[in-house]
């Protein structure tokens, strides 16, 4: 166990930030595993009290359009690749990671920009807004959400903040390496550079935690229908009425 920040000396011997302490990678990994395992155990213990699972049969409603599903999976893939390539050298794997990393990063940046534009002008932006009343939702079983549950909104916005942080710091770091588009100048002062590495590292750690949590819930039996909807686009009417307030979300029928 160590500190959160690693320091180094600049050319004059002045101490500057080097980046995040990668010991935290293990801290995050263990913490996430413990929390998720705990969640799984509690859920298993409560399993018999749980109400019956809604049927996936019957009429289907459209939850995610093809383009959005595509966006989700491209984003997911690029994030996983970024995490894998970014942590490989930390874990001691000798692979040529940097080119894959920045290409995946560029891809992520493009799809995120796409998603932002699309969500602002073509999607129902309101459906994702996290308002004060949403916070009551988990504690009141009578309250059902619109298109997105409180947890989904929370995850979405957490991911938004973290991914944007990763992207902004990543792009700034991208400028510090040679690419086919430019020769680096190495002109960023060492202390600022270190700060960028620190923020990139911290947001990466957060992203790893979020990604792990997200995947965990996506694989939970009671949430699996959401995952299915991210693959095929639809959920059943039963699933919709069991989990959502149709006055707040009235999707069209799936093809």
């Amino acid at each position: 166990m160590g500190e959160i920040v690693r320091y180094k000396r600049d050319v004059w011997g002045e101490e500057v930030i080097l980046g995040v302490s990668w010991d935290l990678l293990w801290v995050v990994a263990v913490a996430v595993l413990v929390l998720l395992a705990a969640h799984a155990i509690i859920m298993a213990a409560l399993a018999n009290k749980k109400m019956e699972k809604a049927s996936s049969e019957g009429r289907r409603v459209l939850r995610h359009e093809t383009i959005d599903r595509l966006f989700h999976w491209v984003m997911a893939a690029s994030i996983l690749v970024l995490i894998a390539t970014g942590t490989a050298p930390i874990l001691g794997l000798r692979i040529a990671w940097l080119n894959i990393h920045w290409i995946a990063g560029l891809l992520l940046t493009f799809v995120v920009v796409f998603h932002i534009i699309r969500s602002l002008f073509w999607q129902d932006f309101k459906s994702m807004i996290l308002g004060p009343k949403d916070f009551g939702e988990p504690f009141d079983s009578s309250k059902k959400p619109g298109k997105y549950t409180f947890e989904q909104k929370g995850m979405h916005w957490a991911v938004t903040v973290v991914v944007l942080a990763v992207i902004v710091t990543g792009v700034l770091l991208f400028l510090q390496i040679d690419t086919p588009f430019w020769d680096r100048t190495n002109s960023m002062p060492e202390d600022q550079l270190g700060l960028m590495f620190l923020l990139h590292g911290l947001s990466t750690l957060a992203l790893i935690a979020l990604a792990a949590t997200h995947i965990y819930f996506a694989l939970r039996p009671e949430k699996l229908f959401y995952t299915r909807s991210m693959v095929s686009g639809w959920i059943s009417e039963d699933e919709m009425t069991a989990n959502h307030d149709t006055s707040l979300w009235s999707p069209k029928e799936a093809d």
Binding site: Y7, R9, W12, G13, E14, E15, P189
Partner: protein, 194 residues
């Protein structure tokens, strides 16, 4: 940017590295492991200029330090302490080596010869030394002991070098005064005498 800088924190790292042997011991103790056996003993006997000398040598000590500071053999000069000049050249089992870049412990079972060991018992100069006097090879003289040792080593392995071979053999010695030509004259003369 903060114009004031403090060296405090990284200095701690340096101290840690300076006292690294101690900290490792503690590390091994803390981890419940036995420290690897086989670390060198400090008291050693070493054959210097034909004499067995007992001397207390730190594990990391260079031969140049031992010769100069423990044995008082200051003929071996430290020009750079980095193997970049040759002023500290001595012979180890007849082979010219930079005493600044050889650990004393590495040569404890070998014969070490420094410039002080060349003269005959009656005080006669070694043929290389005499030739260097005759040719007035040295200028400032600081590189001279190293040049002498390289020449002696060269002539032991090749008693009759041509000038080019001598030049190649002496190449690991810098003479800032630029007396190379005069040293080569000396080597060639010594080869004739020798």
């Amino acid at each position: 940017m903060n114009p004031k800088l403090t060296r405090r924190r990284f200095i701690k790292g340096v101290i840690a590295s300076g006292a690294v042997a101690t900290s490792t011991t503690i590390w091994y103790a803390a981890n419940g492991q036995a420290r690897p056996a086989g670390a060198v003993e400090r008291m050693i006997r070493i054959n210097i200029n034909g004499q067995m000398r007992s001397v207390d040598v730190a594990p990391q000590e260079t031969l140049a330090s031992t010769l100069r500071y423990k044995l008082g053999l200051t003929g071996t000069k430290l020009g750079c302490n980095r193997g970049e000049c040759g002023a500290c050249t001595v012979l180890v089992d007849d082979i010219p080596s930079y005493a600044c870049s050889v650990l004393t412990h590495s040569v404890k079972n070998k014969r070490v010869e420094s410039v002080e060991g060349l003269e005959a018992a009656n005080g006669d100069l070694h043929p290389v030394q005499q030739a260097f006097v005759d040719e007035l090879s040295p200028q400032c003289g600081y590189c001279t002991p190293g040049q002498v040792m390289s020449a002696v080593g060269l002539l032991r392995s090749n008693p009759n070098p041509n000038r080019e071979e001598a030049r190649q053999g002496m190449a690991g010695n810098i003479c800032r005064c630029g007396s190379y030509d005069s040293y080569l004259n000396g080597v060639m003369r010594a080869a004739q005498i020798g």
